[in-house]
């Protein structure tokens, strides 16, 4: 039931409390922003003052006002409302990408380390080739095959991110593989899958978590870029990258609210994800 060798003890309640008191303001702000973004995405219909697709030609292209906090776009839709609703698709995509890529990358890496030999060499070779594909290029191919929308770019980015996660996890798992406790697990008669899932995986998990959170930030950027060039989410849906593109004509006519509002949402959210990922990585390193 209990493992022969225990994994390093995870934080007990008092030490976690102490850690929180020591926590820096940047980390707190990042966590708060992420929580707020998720809350907004879930509760957008309750929070938004207008309907995101309700057009009002009489109130088109307005500046900032008490009725329309961020103004209105070219067809009179409320930009603040669309920024709130935009959180849904803008966050859903990266979460899907990261969940798929993390699961695939971690499983592949641990399997490669466990079996070693030709499987490990093949994986390393395939990863080397996969690195030659920039995410945008994979997205282009994926859209050619499956058509624009949410699915094709998410699949492409999941494929593009898997090698990065696999590489990080592989080197960490390789370190674990040669530690004495793995040998004692083998001697105790535990099966290969069991050692991988119950012993190697928990020990590389902090690193996986840090890598996943950082990947959230970069996939938000990449998915935004894909929507921006017209290969991703299609209008009239509200999504931040798409809104930056949507606001281009208004921007050239001197009212940049739509592009800037959506753009700043992207920047702040990515900074929050990156900060969070950085702190998690530091913690993973301390443990290793």
């Amino acid at each position: 039931m209990t493992a022969v060798t225990s994994t390093p003890v995870t934080a007990s309640p008092p030490s976690r409390l102490r850690r929180w008191r020591k926590a820096d303001p940047v980390l707190i702000l990042s966590v708060l922003w992420c929580a707020l973004a998720i809350l907004v995405a879930v509760a957008a219909p309750l929070l938004a003052p207008y309907d995101p697709s309700q057009t009002d030609i009489l109130a088109a292209a307005q500046g900032l006002s008490a009725q329309h906090w961020f103004g209105t776009d070219e067809v009179g839709r409320d930009i603040f409302t669309r920024v709130l609703y935009g959180a849904r698709l803008s966050l859903l995509g990266p979460v899907l990408v990261v969940v798929i890529a993390t699961a695939a990358g971690t499983a592949l890496a641990i399997a490669a380390v466990w079996f070693g030999g030709w499987f490990d060499r093949l994986l390393t070779r395939v990863l080397d080739i996969a690195f030659a594909f920039p995410p945008l290029l994979l997205a282009v191919l994926s859209v050619v095959l499956f058509g624009p929308g949410l699915t094709a770019p998410v699949v492409a980015l999941a494929v593009a991110y898997t090698p990065y996660i696999a590489r990080v996890v592989r080197s960490a798992a390789l370190r674990e593989r040669h530690l004495p406790y793995i040998e004692s697990c083998t001697l105790a008669g535990l099966s290969g899958p069991r050692i991988c899932v119950r012993h190697i995986l928990p020990n590389v998990l902090p690193l996986v978590r840090a890598q996943a959170v950082t990947s959230l930030g970069s996939s938000l950027l990449d998915l935004g870029a894909i929507s921006f060039v017209g290969l991703g989410i299609q209008p009239p849906s509200a999504e931040w990258g798409l809104m930056v593109a949507d606001g281009r004509t208004a921007l050239l006519n001197g009212s940049p609210q739509e592009s800037l509002a959506a753009g700043f949402m992207i920047i702040i959210t990515v900074v929050a994800f990156n900060m969070l990922g950085e702190r998690l990585a530091e913690r993973a390193e301390v443990r290793a």
Partner: protein, 332 residues
């Protein structure tokens, strides 16, 4: 006489053969990567829904007409044969025919846009190198600047080109009127002026990455024992910094810079779109919607080849920077 000659030859051939073998192995790896990656692109585009012959045949085509077009376009042959046909045309600059613009070859379409995109990418690469190193060295060399530089790079890292574009355009083009908001310009100085904002937008995130790596690796080297020894020997701080800190930090810095430049071509597509520049990237994106797959294939292959060539160059640079890699035959 013969004895010394013999030993000289064997010593020469021993080491050089080793080096040549390492280079050949690396080149073979690079070529293999390009072939496999471009074949993946070729196969994906071939598997795309929609028959180009149907698009060309006009309304109500007869089956004979479709078959004839298939033969003309070479679509009746197996995929692998078609791919190697395409690949053999590559060195001659023969990239096939555009499906949409029937009278022009893909090379004709790429030609005029190639210069614009290369200009943009090189401009951005220079900006990244100058600004990234400057910010990184400032943060790494002066302890007081470390915090502010860390904050600055963290934010800049999160600014993608397509968000930087509206910010730069509304501030510097429409607000202050220093730069044009759209277009690529013609002639060297005009292009330089037109492409400044796009190059900045493209550079900003990568620049932050380079600055961050520079700063952290400089600080790591400064804290290391060999630097403490060098300082203890009484070497002037500038010499210590140049010969002991910078030289060692050059390896991670050049790695990151290489990856940056390798990825610029793909990133340029988004920035070109944002600034309405008619370059390779916008051509590729337009060709995706127009289903002009020969063009997509050509630009995609260019992106892949540029990536592989750049990373190989960086690897070669490493053996120059790090003598340890040389004695071990080039690979870590």
């Amino acid at each position: 006489m013969t004895l010394t000659l013999h030993s000289a030859v064997s010593r020469f051939s021993g080491r050089t053969l080793w080096r040549i073998r390492a280079i050949v192995r690396r080149l073979a790896g690079a070529v293999l990567t390009v072939v496999v990656a471009t074949f993946a692109v070729y196969a994906a585009l071939a598997a795309a829904p929609g028959d180009p012959a149907l698009a060309l045949a006009g309304r109500n085509p007869t089956p004979e007409r479709i078959a004839q077009l298939h033969q003309e376009l070479g679509l009746d042959r197996p995929l692998v044969v078609r791919y190697f046909d395409w690949l053999s045309g590559l060195p001659r600059g023969d990239l096939g025919q555009s499906i949409v613009y029937r009278n022009s070859s893909v090379a004709d379409l790429l030609g005029p846009r190639f210069g614009t995109t290369v200009f943009l990418v090189v401009y951005a690469a220079v900006l990244i190198l100058l600004l990234g190193l400057l910010l990184g060295v400032l943060g790494g060399a002066f302890r007081r600047l470390n915090g502010p530089m860390a904050a600055l790079t963290s934010v800049a890292l999160a600014i993608p080109g397509f968000v930087a574009a509206p910010i730069l355009v509304s501030a510097l083009a429409l607000g202050l009127g220093w730069f044009p908001a759209v277009g690529a310009g013609s002639g060297f100085t005009d292009q330089l002026w037109h492409l400044t904002l796009p190059a900045l937008a493209l550079a900003i995130g990568w620049c932050a990455w380079l600055a961050q790596i520079t700063r952290t690796s400089l600080r790591a080297e400064k804290a290391s024992e060999h630097v403490g020894t060098a300082t203890g020997r009484g070497l002037p701080p500038v010499t210590v910094f140049r010969r002991h800190v910078l030289r060692n930090a050059a390896i991670p810095i050049s790695t990151v810079y290489g990856l940056t430049v390798a990825g610029l071509l793909a990133g340029a597509a988004v920035v070109e779109q944002a600034f309405g520049i008619d370059g390779l990237g916008t051509l590729m994106l337009r060709s995706v919607s127009a289903k002009d797959y020969n063009v997509v294939l050509a630009v995609a292959s260019l992106i892949i080849i540029a990536f592989v060539v750049t990373t190989q160059l960086v690897d070669a640079l490493h053996t120059v920077l790090d003598p340890r890699l040389r004695t071990k035959g080039g690979r870590k």
